[in-house]
């Protein structure tokens, strides 16, 4: 039955943990608070170590808080991260997104820095600063960085943060056996979509949306074992999804993924969602990593990486690239559908549309179409934000009675 305005705006007949107020996806103040409370103190993937294999290789990364970062490998092969901001006049130091720089020199006044963040040259220093200021006073701002969990370079803007291991906890243990040897990035793509970052993470946190994917319906949902996959929730808002065997041969033009992945059963598939907005997705022959970087309440940049094994032969790598692109490339079967779906959510939920609630109410014993993954995320979101996701404006909405079964 269609609803009146009052009925539409009334809280859904679920426990408050099973829905959210859609203003958490559109409100500028909430977005700004998320940057401060969720992203600044969290460990975020900046890049993969294979993107900076040699001494002096660097990679730029714009943190979701807006901070421009340099991730650079030193002559000692240690990877460090610094603000890409010259301490002199606040200029950008490095411009290209990646490269090799033994000295990082600001083009504006030629101040130079080494890969440990030391200022190693101030042009005409004595003439201008006499003894009042010297290069020892002009180091770069260093940011915490750890390499881990498959060789990713994780950064944290909070000097007082916990360790990366403490932050991840056991969430990635399920993938640990498959990340024992060096990996290599072969695919990078950044999609900017007018939607909220959480809506992308939601999509990665539930499989009920397999209905949008013809490919997944044919190769997964209609196959034995699909409904046995279970969610496991972890501390800090992380969650994982167990494996199944994907029947690739059920999709015309597709085939068994012959190249596989060491230790992973043929057709195997594991996913781990990490708070606040990263996903590890190991599917048969490719590891895909999503890093969602909010640009505003209704705009997100999602960085997609595809990885294979560093030791791949050219033929193996070509097969992995093919497997990746078939499903997850910018022209792939599934990625476009997923992005289109969250674009549609952004379109329907933006300020003023009358969107009011988003329901996460499915309970299926934590199996694949259960929405427990999202509920777990929003419980953590509420805890860290100090706002209830079902009552983010603190309007004191009473929890509605549980709907009758």
């Amino acid at each position: 039955m269609a609803k009146t305005a009052m009925q539409w705006n009334a809280p859904p007949k679920f426990p408050a943990s099973h829905y959210v107020d859609s203003r958490i996806y559109t409100d500028q103040a909430i977005h700004d608070e998320e940057v401060e409370r969720l992203f600044k103190p969290s460990w975020i993937i900046a890049c993969h170590e294979s993107e900076i294999p040699s001494a002096y290789d660097y990679r730029l990364f714009t943190h979701p808080a807006g901070v421009p970062l340099i991730v650079v490998r030193g002559e000692d092969m240690k990877v460090r991260s610094f603000y890409n901001i010259c301490p002199h006049r606040g200029n950008t130091i490095l411009y290209d997104p990646a490269g090799n720089a033994k000295r990082m020199t600001c083009i504006f006044h030629a101040w130079s820095f080494d890969t440990r963040g030391n200022c190693i040259e101030i042009s005409r220093a004595e003439q201008g600063y006499q003894k009042r200021f010297c290069k020892e006073d002009a180091g770069l701002r260093e940011v915490k960085l750890e390499i881990g969990f498959g060789g990713f370079a994780w950064v944290n803007l909070d000097d007082a943060s916990c360790t990366l291991r403490e932050y991840i906890g056991p969430a990635l243990d399920v993938l640990d056996p498959f990340m024992q040897e060096p990996l290599e990035v072969f695919h990078f793509n950044r999609a900017v979509v007018n939607t909220n970052y959480k809506l992308w993470h939601d999509t990665n946190s539930e499989f009920y949306h397999d209905f949008v994917h013809y490919f997944n319906r044919i190769t997964g949902m209609m196959q034995p074992g699909y409904f046995d996959r279970k969610y496991t929730a972890f501390e800090n808002g992380h969650a994982s999804v167990g494996s199944m065997s994907i029947q690739y041969d059920k999709y015309e033009g597709s085939k068994e993924r012959a190249v596989g992945w060491p230790g992973l059963a043929p057709g195997g598939w594991y996913m781990v969602d990490l708070f606040p907005a990263m996903t590890y997705n190991l599917r048969t022959s490719v590891l895909r990593i999503d890093t969602a970087l909010p640009l505003g309440p209704n705009k997100v940049a999602i960085e997609f990486r595809g990885l294979g094994l560093k030791r791949d032969t050219p033929a193996q790598r070509a097969q992995r690239v093919f497997d990746h692109n078939t499903i997850w490339g910018p022209f792939g079967r599934n990625l476009h559908e997923d992005l289109l779906a969250v674009h549609g959510q952004g379109r329907a939920m933006r300020e003023g549309t009358g969107s009011r609630w988003v329901i996460h109410g499915r309970e299926e014993n934590s199996t694949i179409h259960d929405e427990v993954g999202m509920r777990h995320f929003y419980a953590e979101w509420s805890r860290r934000m100090g706002r209830k996701s079902y009552d983010p404006m603190r309007e004191g909405r009473p929890e509605p009675a549980r709907a009758a079964a």
Partner: protein, 151 residues
């Protein structure tokens, strides 16, 4: 000169066929050994990437499966300009500039969606020239929510 005109027309007809979603018409312009690739250089990871790679059978399957998938339905308009044609024996290497425009169904606003270069190998062995291979070297790496339809 007549041969150059035939070659140029083949490139343009291939764009028109894709614009019209006349996939049979597009494949009719292709050699049985046709291969199609979308390639992109990433300055971020400093690597050439392949974003799509299909032989003729793979392209046929891609086209056949299109209606089974959920796709954006905004029309794409390809604007190609043939820059160079290098004939060597029974084939020609043709380099064209390509711009792809996308027009929103709701309201009809058109935006530049992608710029790229087409590198075509065209067979000239007798009858009508046919596409033996097409490499689309895409410059635009931010494609929003992407596309199921090749350029």
């Amino acid at each position: 000169m007549e041969q150059r005109q035939q070659i140029e027309e083949l490139v343009y007809r291939s764009c028109l066929a894709l614009d019209d979603r006349d996939y049979k018409g597009f494949l009719a312009l292709c050699d049985p050994g046709f291969r199609y690739k979308v390639m992109v250089y990433s300055p971020e990871i400093r690597k050439d990437m392949v974003w799509l790679d299909h032989d003729r059978a793979g392209m046929e399957t891609l086209f056949v499966n299109l209606p089974r998938h959920n796709s954006d339905h905004s029309p794409l308009s390809r604007h190609a300009t043939v820059y160079t044609v290098k004939v060597q024996g029974q084939q020609a290497e043709v380099v064209s500039a390509l711009q792809v425009f996308r027009t929103a169904l709701d309201g009809g606003a058109t935006e530049l969606y992608s710029v790229a270069r087409l590198i075509d190998t065209i067979k000239l062995d007798g009858g009508e020239p046919r596409l033996a291979s097409r490499v689309v070297k895409v410059e635009t790496r931010q494609l929003g929510f992407g596309s199921h339809i090749p350029f």
